[in-house]
Symmetry: D2
Subunit: 334 residues, 4 copies
């Protein structure tokens, strides 16, 4: 049984604690937070765990791994010290503020021979696993475009802008599908509050060979939308995470450019062409899958699906997007 310390007990920390407790491979041994009221709640939720306001107790504690769910500005410092203390480390997204910080953590983990996993939790959802399987099997043909919308009402105080808050989810999904950086990033954003943080943004990633991925993230939307279209030459997928019944839909259609007016008329009248297939997606909790995977990487040496390298790539894209927003959409090469 791996003993884990959860650092940061705000919005996400309690979910980590619960899942580390429920997994048969792990247990929450320590909860660390600087807020006394939160620690009281942690005591209620996880009576068996030690609670502390001092990170030093985590470093010296009888634990195997540290999960960091604090504000992003502290990730690098806490993860660095945990790795230096010989712990395996799981870091909440976004991984770090600076690209250099992310790269340094990867180097440290490699040198120390410790697992470094970034909490790109959607990668562990059955829906994304199914999409990855279909893409890898060539089911979609050549990929043409990805269009992602992740918008909702979210106008409360943040430490980062909407791109850093919401886009890591989608960027990590696309990173999981492709496993490589785009060539360039262009992004546009706008802010409507005195904080000056962007609350609506568009990111456009050029992967070369005609493949573009576009991301719309927004805290001002009246409704919650989580939808990604993966368009291919043979088939396309619509992944609607709000649709609990048909989360993943696969649309059959070949693309034939035609000059025939009658077939044009048909297409204009039709709402879609080809069959639709919605594979059964199990109801498993992605976070639990990730916690089990983290344990598996520690125990068996398996390479993490969302290791520090994926964290570096996502931070590089976010960093480029930030610079592009400042340059009003000017394209930034990676």
């Amino acid at each position: 049984m791996l003993r884990v310390a959860v650092v940061g007990y705000g919005y996400w920390g309690p979910n980590l604690v619960r899942n580390f407790n429920e997994s048969e491979h792990t247990t929450t041994a320590i909860v660390c937070d600087t807020d006394e009221a939160r620690l009281a709640k942690a005591r209620d939720q996880s009576p068996g765990a030690q609670v502390t306001a001092r990170f030093e107790e985590v470093l010296t504690g009888n634990i195997d791994a540290v999960a960091i769910a604090t504000p992003v500005g502290t990730h690098h410092e806490l993860a660095r010290r945990a790795l230096e203390a010989g712990k395996h480390v799981l870091v909440e997204k976004p991984f770090t503020i600076l690209v250099e910080q992310a790269e340094e953590l990867v180097t440290l983990a490699e040198r120390a021979g410790r697992v470094l996993l970034v909490d790109h939790v959607f990668v562990y959802s059955p829906a994304v696993q199914k999409i990855k399987e279909l893409v890898d099997a060539g089911h979609l043909g050549r990929l043409y475009f990805i269009d992602s919308v992740r918008i909702n009402l979210g106008l409360f105080q943040h430490d980062v802008n909407v791109a850093w808050d919401l886009a890591p989810h989608d960027l990590s999904i696309v990173d999981h599908l492709f496993g490589r950086l785009p060539r360039s990033v262009a992004a546009m954003g706008s802010s409507h509050t005195s904080s000056g943080l962007e609350d609506a943004a568009y990111l456009n990633l050029d992967y070369g060979e005609g493949l573009r991925a576009n991301f719309h993230v927004n805290w001002l939307s009246p409704v919650k939308v989580r939808q990604m279209i993966v368009g291919g030459s043979e088939r396309s997928i619509i992944y609607n995470d709000m649709d609990t019944v048909e989360r993943v839909k696969v649309y059959d259609r070949g693309i034939d450019v035609t000059n025939d007016p009658e077939s044009r008329r048909r297409v204009l009248i039709n709402y879609r062409s080809g069959d639709v297939w919605s594979p059964q997606i199990g109801p498993s909790e992605p976070l639990r899958q990730m916690v089990d995977h983290f344990a598996d990487c520690i125990l068996t040496g398996t390479q993490p699906l969302t290791g520090g390298d994926s964290g570096v790539r996502v931070v590089r894209i976010l960093d480029a997007a930030q610079r592009s927003i400042k340059a009003d959409g000017g394209r930034v090469l990676l």
Copy 2:
């Protein structure tokens, strides 16, 4: 009864002929097309109308107005000659290929004292009229953003790219709401066929004071989506043209940036906040409204809702978008 000549009898022409015949103020007097098979169909559809392959017969015919539904490359030449022959003119969207052509037609119409109307047909839909009414009444508060998605499978031969094909609908709606040009346009597009025409594009318009409008147009989507979000400080609207039952939804919500963790938790759990109201939208045919409005402008001197000036603005945006796409998203000032 106004006598109208319809020039071009391809996809849209028959709809014009039918509506000019059904309106009590107009009748289709001439149908002109260079394709003999199409003229035969026109004879069937509108037995009372003269059919001809020669545009000269339109110019010298006993008619009051000319409606032009030919490929966009011919719009300017045909409209110019019709105005010079003293006819009122209705031009299919997109208005013209070049900004200068559009401006010349406006000048000609003014000089000749003739009505020049651009077929921005969505402006005449009850849904857009309702949205305009709500925006003008201040119901939404300060406008924050517009996000529009108009995507479908449309991979057949085109004479223009996807931005010129699909975006005029949305650009004309936004132009109707604001009545002015944006400050700048940035656009990105990609092509996946040998034609080289962009089949997927994103346009981003900056209207100043934090108001941005973003447009996603795409011929590669497996499903048809026509949705526009108009986000405001007091309320927001979702206009889903595919939802025949609740085409326009108004979402109540004030935006209060809060630091209170409990209210943050509530927002994260909730799918939306505030009531939703979907006003009854009548089933009237927008094209019929436009045809009646065209007749009204001719008969009473009313200023067209979608006159040549709106056509100029939309063409200027499309032209800027085209240049921005060539510059890989570089922002173009207007």
Copy 3:
């Protein structure tokens, strides 16, 4: 080219006229209605057709077939006289008021060697054709139940109650699937207006061997619903005629009665089990298919898909339902 007379030019008649004109096998030769304003409209719609207020002119006219779209109370008389005059006959649904009338028309048509087709138009829709194909191929396994909902706001004056108005659509679809009468019918209805006509009704048909079909028809619903579930031992179908994108959905699932608590928990958590498949359904107009089929039956002697015999069965069910409603749900044997 078959020459057809359309009798009755109210709500449905103009659709018949248009389709007989558009089909290459038929033309509308005569339009007959007692209302002079309607005849004026018919003259506009179909300039080539003779219009008349006198049914005698239909009987003596140079025509091959008569299509009857008058109020149901007149169907039997008009169809009888048309058959006796040697014409082929198409009758709007519901076929007749009385079972005996329906049976008499079948006998007359057989004796005269003329085609008698009942306008069960949904049978000719691509969606129902696809369902028939799947059921006949055994794709659903053993049929367990049919549940149909056809409700909308329809509170204007009617000559029949809601069961006679709306249920023929669904009853004819089920008749097409099974081709036989149920063993018994039970029905309940209620009326909320001074007319005394039922405006909400439930029909329950027992087909034996555990197969029941239930129909909910209602003029008081705030929304329009047209949905039929066909439940089988191997697969089930949901046919939602309001869903223009995925009209027919096929749900994979075997039914295993299990005592295993974990599988029970899974089912309770899951929204559905098994894959979903939505076959592509073409956009063809069912009425046009029916008109072409009517012509084909006349020209080649093909047996009608919805001949007088199906009309008799539907009227027998409606008649039994009527008697059951009067008996407050008492079951009526057929």
Copy 4:
């Protein structure tokens, strides 16, 4: 702090334990189940509670109230003994197997001055509370009909048929709205497994004055549907419990029986008439509301919203439905 014993730790019991622990007014003091594996789970979930396989320990334990979540066949015996031991009692639905059992428990509770609450949990949902508020305020005008559909895939072993399993939810909602018994009940059901238990059923309740309520419950449906229409003379409500975004929708429309053909045509074309309003419904957990209400009734003497009397009425309807099913739909007077 009220001390509660939860008897029965199968599907529902753990939810009761959690909510009694989370409420500030109650705590789970004892968990009782005859299955040792379940008791082990209870120990994990609620370390502070005593666990026992002997109901006698519940009766003699230091507790204020007993919550019974065992199979329905044991409800009466356990509840009777708990009331006789002076405990307040909460009973899972369905309340009892026999009407006499339900009535006896009500008498016992009254005599003992103890709270008897039936777990009609949907009554405590914000959606049903909102509907009750609108109905009571006369917002819907005169009620015309209720149509309820509660269907899903549920083919695992049951101790009762589908009517007893699923209908109590809807019957208790309608009982909460009206607070009285219907005049009569007719029901039809069918079974497709060797158990002989009905797995699909329709219940039709006559409340007099033209008001009927119809309930479709079904374990064979490929999809999960939970929808109730409440139709009134002024407005109608659609309550779709699967729609997390717009659970309750209010449809404006007056009902005017009209003879005007044009208005008839409009209604036929329109999908709905009048505005739609979807009030904001909070995300609170109904079970938590019920647990707090149970505590409040015990502590302050408040009359329960879903006391034994509502339990009696629901069991009387289920009992009548059972007899009607046996009589193949014959109407049973209450």
